[in-house]
Symmetry: C2
């Protein structure tokens, strides 16, 4: 349950991976297991998902799983970190490529919705981490929010957005995007993503107040 004794040079890092593979063969197996775990947890959720089934999907024995991870929770945590990274890596470039922050907001949401539609499993895993690994979940959103707040503040410096409370705004916009992702990415993928992004963009840019 606790960290492996790991008699050799104590590895300070490696929070979730019990042991790094030493050979190409090992790295390949680890990857198989990680991918299988993503499938399994994505499809059945953490508690319904089983190690035996992960091993089966990966085409390895149960014991091999424990060569790379200390526990069920450990794989899950590794997955969350990995997918958190994936989302950002997919979305951020679109934001940066846009001419200004507000256009970036729109492009980012479009990219995000696209990503969610093609990675519904991932979405579920990050969400479920709130209950399996609170700290990992929290870290994910706090990281995103901080990046967001900073980005907004810089945009303010360039005169692209109005002044305001950056943290609150960051959390608000993030929540907006997450829920739109849930609604129009996971649950209802009928409407084109640009349409959603356009509507959301209009809201974020000008608000609800009637024109004067």
């Amino acid at each position: 349950m606790t960290a492996t004794p790991q008699t050799s040079a104590e590895t300070p890092h490696t929070e979730s991976r019990s042991k790094e593979p030493r050979t190409a063969r090992g790295r390949k197996t680890l990857r198989l297991i990680l991918d299988a775990a993503a499938e399994e947890f994505g499809a059945r959720g953490y508690h319904e998902g089983s190690i035996a089934r992960i091993a089966q999907r990966a085409g390895v024995a149960i014991g091999s799983f424990y060569t790379y991870f200390d526990s069920k929770e450990a794989v899950f945590r590794a997955l969350v970190a990995d997918m958190s990274r994936q989302v950002r890596e997919h979305v951020v470039p679109f934001i940066l490529a846009a001419p200004d922050r507000l256009a970036g907001e729109r492009a980012g949401l479009t990219a995000y919705l696209d990503f969610v539609r093609t990675h519904k499993a991932l979405y579920r895993i990050i969400d479920e981490s709130a209950f399996v690994a609170e700290d990992a979940y929290r870290r994910h959103y706090v990281d995103v929010a901080d990046g967001y707040a900073t980005s907004l503040e810089q945009a303010f410096g360039r005169g692209e957005v109005s002044d305001g409370d950056w943290q609150v705004r960051a959390w608000a916009i993030m929540g907006m995007n997450v829920f739109l992702g849930l609604k129009y990415g996971v649950w209802d993928d009928g409407r084109p993503v640009d349409e959603i992004a356009a509507a959301a963009h209009a809201l974020i840019a000008d608000g609800l107040a009637p024109p004067r």
Copy 2:
């Protein structure tokens, strides 16, 4: 905490309750179990929560639990439905009391944050239902969103808000509120709620676009 069965007139539904209590004594026990379940699930979450502990908290035998509910999932579902109602019953009056929709938005968020801060357990239960009872979770948010959309559209009729995509706006604002609730209600209750609500209100009302 929970809704009293109230009407002795036969409730047509009873999906989750296996059997309605017939006597005052039974109603009292059901109430004890329901409240105990809210505490237990709120504190430990669905999967960590145990029936034995719920029974203990309620001060009844395990068997009594099964007199009123068919399974662990059944109590959970009953709770979700009940709390979904509670949130709305607490927040809606504040929105209605406001002079116009935008002011209502602000009052509603303030009330919501207040509620979350004093009912963190409840918050967790509704959130976790996404994985235990997807349909119940979905129903909760779809209901809220629909109410929201309708309300916004009516406000538009009165000239209080601009025209736009009501559904997208409803989901966006809902997500915004939920995340602000998570951040400033559950995780970080240091800042005064009005402050948060004011900042969010500014965003919803006028958006991020710089003044022209």
